[in-house]
Amino acid sequence: MLEQNSRAEASGTGAAVVHVDATAKWFIASSVLYFFIVGIIAIVIAAKFVWPDLMGTTPWLTYGRLRPLHVNGMLFGWLLAADMGLAFYVIPRLCGAPLWSEKLGVATAVLWNVIVLGAVVTLLAGQNQGWEYAELVPWLDALVVVAWLMFGANLLMTIAQRKYDAMYVSIWYVMGTVVWTAFVYLTGNLATLFTTGVNQANLNWMYVHNAVGLIFTPIGLAIAYYFIPRASNTPLFSHKLSMVGFWSLAFVYVWTGAHHMIHGPISQWLQTIAIAFSLMLLIPVWAVVYNLFATMKGQWHQLRENVPLKFLMSGVVFYLLTCFQGPMHSLRTVNAIVSKTDWIPGHAHMAVLGAFSFFAIAGTYHAVPKLWGRALHSQAMANWSYWMLMIGGLGFFVTLWLGGFWQGWQWNNVGIPFIDTVKALQPVWLVRFFSGIFMFAGIVLFAYNVMATVVGSSSEAAA
């Protein structure tokens, strides 16, 4: 236990090291801004389900143009950028060494912003490659690869120069993210260019699945593993269990891409392999969740006052739920009901918003006061941002599950015309829209709170 304690505390003992953190600051500040901007687009497309003629006759404001902007903006503009910023904050502290190159880091942040702005312009213009999550045109893909190599090289060099021999679990997860993202991204954005039909779809879904499973999951868990012990001032329950979680994730996740085509035109045996490995995902998930819950044993009372910890532990619960749903969806019987319905966005949002964005928000709330050397602008506002996102998120997830399941049943009753299954979902989409308003309010409070801290209008004394 002591050994683990010293690991978790390693960041605090590197007193001699001065962290400049310019890179972390750039990434975090810009990602928070995109979270807010893309949140507006999210509200608009949710509204379009209820009022389909809304802004309907302007090509670049139609659903088909705004949806990829919402998805790419949230995934790459907000979440991945925030995660990268937090990795730039966490890794040097866990290594007891300064970031290898701040210049390279800041250049990466600038390039990342160029990519996000390029994505906005090209997507609204209808330049869409036609693959989910891989909509961006090839020249932007190439820039993403360059930025990723810069990011990876910087962190790997920092890790190579670390002061402590033993590596805390977050370091492996970040290293895993660096290497897996590189290959997953190339599969989804480069290899697809040389294939067609089912072969291409198989590569596309290997990418889509692992964009979440081997990009957002490992970097999100790196953040959760760092900030849960930090925010609660409690050592991690078990180092060995975290190893089980990491190595089983490394092995089983990549096999599951074909579960996106269950019952579809793809070889049955490949579907079966994907299903078998999808069920095995429960192993890494349970290893992680058990470890993080056990860490909190006897410390749950801290959740009352500690906003980052609220986000973190709620995120762990959402992570467990979403990762339980995933393997269940892959079962042929369940899939025949929920696949292609509104259940799926409910599931996807619980992963990306409920779990990984909550981790990133918690990390941001924890890191921003330390990075800018000021107390957080307002604790009360932070608490409100949590409740807004929580209520909005739950409203969003739960209504889409119920609605999606219902929709799937209706589809399987061929006596019901398709249009009646659309009309039946109207109340669901209306509740989703209002849940979206709550979520957006949470985002506004979060973004304002962070920005007010950054520009230095603290209402409290410096920590």
Binding site: T62, G126, L156, F183, T196, A201, M243, G257
Partner: protein
């Protein structure tokens, strides 16, 4: 092996890469080598063996239409796959004839693939020949005029642009037609 990765970053990095590549190669590179139907275009001239027909690459007009379909993100709300689910074959059938299940050999020339993941609107894998030109023009101008309760966005800039409309129509009428699944050959134009 895993203990060593605890203190050696290089070892952890290599091991993480290796474990990833086992599943990665076996599920992406190997399957098309094992299942040849992914790359062999559908062709059957013998009615005794089931539905006849032949998959041919799209003509240039249909290709233009497909590019519009891709540009406007139609594929976010419309899938193109009749799954091995009874309700799919019934629901996407037409005038009493069940839609044949989609098979990999019908999509050999597709790039980007348009299988889709979400059915906010109905599946379009077999939509080719179900509705005539006038229906599509009115529907693109304002979907709710023909289908009250629809939430599809209106696309007047396509319906009112003869070249774009013609191309998109040609593409849509080609969908699912590699298999000649209408016994009476009663496709609309």
């Amino acid at each position: 092996m895993f203990r060593k990765a605890d203190t050696s970053a290089a070892w952890a990095f290599i091991l993480a890469t290796l474990l990833f590549f086992i599943g990665g190669l076996l599920t992406t590179v190997v399957p098309p080598m094992v299942d040849k139907s992914w790359a062999k275009p559908f062709k059957n001239a013998d009615p005794a063996k089931g539905i006849t027909g032949e998959l041919k690459p799209l003509g240039s007009l249909e290709q233009q239409g497909r590019a519009i379909y891709q540009r406007e993100g139609c594929w976010y709300c419309h899938t193109q796959q009749v799954r091995t689910i009874l309700a799919d074959t019934k629901r996407y059938g037409w005038r009493g004839v069940d839609a044949p299940v989609s098979t990999p050999d019908e999509f050999v020339f597709d790039s980007p693939h348009m299988f889709g993941t979400k059915r906010t609107g109905p599946d379009l894998a077999r939509v080719g020949g179900k509705y005539n030109e006038q229906w599509h023009r009115t529907h693109f101008k304002n979907p709710r005029e023909l289908v009250p309760g629809s939430i599809m966005p209106p696309y007047p800039w396509i319906a009112n642009n003869p070249a774009e409309f013609k191309a998109l129509l040609a593409y849509m009428q080609s969908l699912g037609r590699a298999k000649e699944w209408r016994p009476a050959n009663d496709y609309e134009k």
